[in-house]
């Protein structure tokens, strides 16, 4: 079985003047864009929800728990469908129409803007539930003595969290958050199901067009591995920096 990678440099049969390798790189671009956007959402929302679950307020704890349970127990794929297909229907008609038509038209650099937005939001909210749990575990693993000392020093709740609990929890949860970041990156592949051709979707499309299935899948898998290694390396070096501070 001969492996032939030259097809990557040939022009696509669709006649859009680009090569297959351009398609592949565009897919990679979407993957990275979705992953980074979703990760930002997930970090902010996840840390907030994780904190909520440890606050003295019963309302905050309930809110955090409901959020985590809802977004953790529904498959990510179904969540993407709910955001993309169901949400516009449930909103008031004007908003729903705007989401379905005008959102895409509002930017010129791509035709898939609403797919990108919903993929990022869906992936972000799902990952936030997991980050919330990990951050909560981090906060709860801080010895009770710290909290008692902070209270006896007269620190307010806000100060206690900001100066004491959050930094320590971040340090404790960092390794788990690294693996969570990789998970986000891998889960971005699900965006292909709502039509956004990120790396996996693009791989499949190229395979359909060129029939060089093995070669293109090999290249894509290597790309995923490569990005995983880079992300792991970045997170580990940040971890070393944190340990030293």
């Amino acid at each position: 079985m001969a492996l032939d990678f030259s097809f990557l440099m040939t022009e696509t049969s669709v006649g859009d003047g680009r090569r297959y390798v351009d398609w592949l790189l565009q897919g990679l671009g979407w993957t990275l864009l979705i992953s980074i956007s979703a990760w930002c959402i997930a970090l902010v929302l996840g840390v907030v929800m994780g904190i909520f679950r440890t606050l003295p307020s019963k309302l905050a704890r309930a809110l955090g728990t409901v959020y985590v349970e809802v977004f953790r127990n529904i498959p990510l794929l179904l969540q993407l469908f709910l955001w993309f297909y169901v949400l516009p229907e449930l909103l008031p008609e004007r908003w729903g129409e705007w989401l379905k038509k005008d959102l895409n038209a509002s930017v010129t650099w791509t035709n898939f803007f609403s797919e990108y937005i919903f993929s990022s939001i869906g992936l972000g909210f799902y990952t936030a539930a997991r980050v919330a749990e990990q951050f909560r575990a981090g906060i709860q693993s801080i010895p009770m003595g710290q909290t008692l000392a902070a209270q006896s020093l007269g620190l307010t709740l806000f100060q206690r969290y900001r100066l004491l609990l959050i930094p320590q929890a971040a340090r404790i949860a960092w390794p788990v958050l690294t693996s969570e970041c990789l998970t986000v990156f891998k889960n971005s592949s699900l965006a292909m199901t709502i039509g956004l051709l990120e790396l996996t979707g693009q791989t499949r499309q190229i395979s359909d067009y060129t029939f060089r299935t093995f070669e293109v899948f090999l290249v894509s898998t290597l790309l995923y591995i490569f990005v995983s290694l880079v992300v792991t390396f970045i997170m580990r070096s940040l971890e070393h920096k944190m340990m030293r501070s």
Partner: protein
């Protein structure tokens, strides 16, 4: 607000039930074959005395953990028939039912994750136990079978069961290769009848109930152990 009509659910219950059975079946089979059997094997091999064996297993686990499951599933769905064709000749009618390629993909993929959990469990077994087993003259197989693995599994049961729940949620993805699992069936019916809202909301409720109740049961198992 939109008017919701749930008839799409009530009229199609037999199909939905079949889809759910497929999802659950896929989940259970791959958890047993991939998770328990292959995962344990991989975990044990990580402690082998041969470096090449250790490194092979490590590379395999890292490969599976660096690749999206969707990609792994495509690998098996598209490439296994191709491989069979090259091996058996271009004229052979080699095709694998999508269910089996999905099952193999799941089993091999999840085995990596399960093996990490079991490996942590093996490492948590007190060294004294292992030494005592050695001192008693047990063979490697006996050591693992009677001393190490039972203790490792007992410790990791909640984590393993949680991974099974995650596995169940991951099965939703197989509709992409055409398998009529629960989500796939709902999707097809919802798109045919144009009732996506009701269909997906119903699917969300079902998945939520199953996963939520299962994780509560696992929690109960955890607290039940504290004596």
């Amino acid at each position: 607000m939109v008017h919701l009509e749930w008839s799409i659910v009530t009229e199609n219950l037999p199909y939905l039930a079949k889809g759910l059975m497929l999802s659950l079946g896929l989940c259970v089979l791959s958890a047993i074959l991939g998770g328990a059997v292959l995962g344990t094997l991989l975990a044990v091999l990580r402690f082998s005395e041969y470096p090449w064996l250790r490194r092979t297993v490590e590379s395999y686990v890292n490969l599976m953990r660096a690749t999206p499951f969707l990609m792994v599933m495509f690998w098996f769905y598209f490439l296994v028939p191709l491989l069979l064709k090259t091996l058996l000749g271009p004229d052979s009618v080699a095709s694998i039912d999508a269910f089996y390629s999905a099952l193999i993909a799941f089993a091999l993929f999840e085995a990596a994750y399960f093996s990490e959990i079991i490996r942590a469990g093996i490492q948590a077994v007190p060294v004294g136990q292992v030494n005592a087993a050695r001192a008693l003259g047990l063979t490697v197989f006996q050591r693992y079978r009677w001393i190490i693995l039972p203790q490792a599994f007992k410790k990791m049961t909640p984590v393993l069961l949680t991974q099974c729940i995650i596995l169940f949620q991951d099965t939703a993805v197989v509709y992409i290769v055409g398998l009529p699992d629960f989500l796939g069936t709902i999707k097809r019916i919802a798109e045919r009848d144009g009732r996506m809202v009701e269909g997906y909301l119903f699917a969300a409720v079902v998945y939520f109930l199953i996963s939520f109740l299962a994780s509560k049961a696992v929690d109960r198992l955890k607290t039940g152990r504290v004596e």
